[in-house]
């Protein structure tokens, strides 16, 4: 299609590169990101079930590795931020963190090499879980009326300010929070993958070019590798931020006044 238009010239990577054909068959359910998501669920489940199965006082290396990740989410993201009632939310935070982290890292693992979170559907779904969770605990803790009133009419504010503040607050709680949560993750993974495509595909194209272009190609590949390391950092960071913000929203809903 567009490739014909350039006729041998360089085709820059575009959003179209994210829509891969089905890996096998001709179903919408056998595309690469969907298979990767299922693969991640299997890998995470197997790893953590294997590492936690024995629950030893003196852990094996495998159990220690599992505990390291679990302990990080449980203590640094759960206990530190949510406080006394944190234990109820640990499974959700733990699932979010491991699921996002694994799928992000798939983006730089050879052969897999595709971050499922660059398909906006997955971040949308993931953001829905903490979104429902924090509204749910808020309503349960404070009662529906009191909770909504607390959001719409923040206490300790002059009445006139509500004209401005109420729409902002409502938008924040019901639109901005889930949207920013999912779009931040999506955009980071999307942009990161696109960046890698630019350098790798660019290098690939340069090396097929004339002699002068061939000499430039290694720089493009080198930058591609450097960006891969950078991507790894961004992937971990995004998993952390997503979980951290989810914990913060839940903590906010649990607090009586905010």
């Amino acid at each position: 299609m567009r490739a014909f238009a350039f006729e041998g010239g360089f085709v820059p990577p575009s959003t179209a590169d994210f829509n891969l054909p089905p890996a096998f068959g001709n179903s919408e359910f056998t595309t690469k990101p969907i298979l990767l998501v299922f693969l991640s669920v299997v890998l995470i489940s197997v790893f953590f079930v294997a590492s936690s199965r024995k629950a030893l006082v003196v852990p094996t290396k495998l159990q220690f590795a599992g505990e390291l990740i679990y302990g990080f989410v449980r203590n640094d993201l759960g206990k530190e931020i949510i406080g006394a009632e944190f234990m109820r939310f640990v499974p959700l935070l733990f699932s979010l963190f491991t699921f996002i982290l694994t799928n992000n890292i798939f983006g730089i693992i050879p052969l897999l090499q595709f971050p499922a979170m660059s398909h906006v559907s997955f971040p949308y779904v993931l953001a829905a879980f903490p979104f429902i969770a924090f509204h749910w605990v808020g309503i349960k803790k404070q009662g529906l009326g009191h909770y909504l009133k607390g959001i719409a009419f923040m206490p300790g504010v002059p009445k006139a300010v509500y004209v401005l503040l109420t729409p902002i607050e409502i938008a924040t709680f019901f639109l901005v929070r889930p949207l920013t949560l999912s779009l931040r993750l999506f955009a980071n993974m999307f942009a990161g993958h696109l960046l890698l495509l630019v350098f790798i595909m660019g290098g690939d194209h340069l090396i097929k070019g004339v002699i002068g272009l061939k000499l430039v190609a290694p720089f493009s590949f080198t930058l591609g590798i450097v960006m891969t390391f950078f991507e790894f950092m961004v992937q971990c960071l995004q998993a952390y931020i997503f979980t951290l913000l989810s914990a913060l929203y839940i903590a906010g809903a649990l607090a009586d006044e905010h």
Binding site: L20, Y70, L92, F94, Y124, F129
Partner: protein, 179 residues
């Protein structure tokens, strides 16, 4: 280069795919259930067991320490008792020792006094005996002298004086022996 597929769907990357929404929901729910059911409780169990083990260990150590402190106290007390006992025994021994020495000294003095008295008595008795024998000897000597004087009286003057001289010599030698 990758095959371009579903170019029409590339129009807006912010529009979600229904299939992916469904898969995402199912996959994440599945993971959530597995982690909540099988993983989180096991890790919590391990953490709790570890906490308990550490706390148990600390309690045991504290108990052992308390026991050691009690034992130390009792040993110290026993040691102090023993020291007191030793001092008392030493004091008693000193008292007893000085009493024994005093007793022995008194007895020795008594003995010495007795021996002295005995010596005095025997000396006195010997003196008496000497006096008695001397007196007898002097008497017999006088008698002998008198008889000699009487026996020789008729002889000449010269013999008489010789006899007297001899007697005196005898006496002198006798008394010289006695001295």
């Amino acid at each position: 280069m990758k095959t371009r597929f579903a170019a029409e769907a590339a129009a807006n990357p912010l529009i979600p795919h229904t299939a992916e929404l469904i898969v995402g929901f199912i996959a994440f729910t599945l993971l959530f259930l597995v982690l909540r059911r099988a993983v989180v409780p096991m890790f919590e169990k391990a953490f709790a067991a570890r906490t308990e083990a550490i706390q148990g260990g600390i309690e045991k150590a504290e108990r052992a320490q308390a026991e050691a402190a009690v034992a130390l106290q009792s040993y110290t007390a026993q040691l102090a008792d023993a020291r007191g006992e030793a001092t008392k025994i030493r004091e008693e021994a000193r008292v007893q020792g000085s009493a024994i020495i005093e007793d022995l000294r008194a007895r020795a003095q008594e003995e010495a006094a007795r021996i002295t008295a005995q010596a005095h008595a025997s000396i006195e008795a010997e003196r008496q005996a000497a006096i008695t024998s001397l007196r007898q000897e002097v008497g017999s000597l006088a008698t002998e002298l008198a008889s000699k004087i009487v026996g020789e009286a008729l002889e000449d003057q010269a013999r008489q004086s010789r006899v007297v001289d001899r007697f005196l010599d005898d006496l002198a030698s006798e008394s010289g022996k006695a001295k």
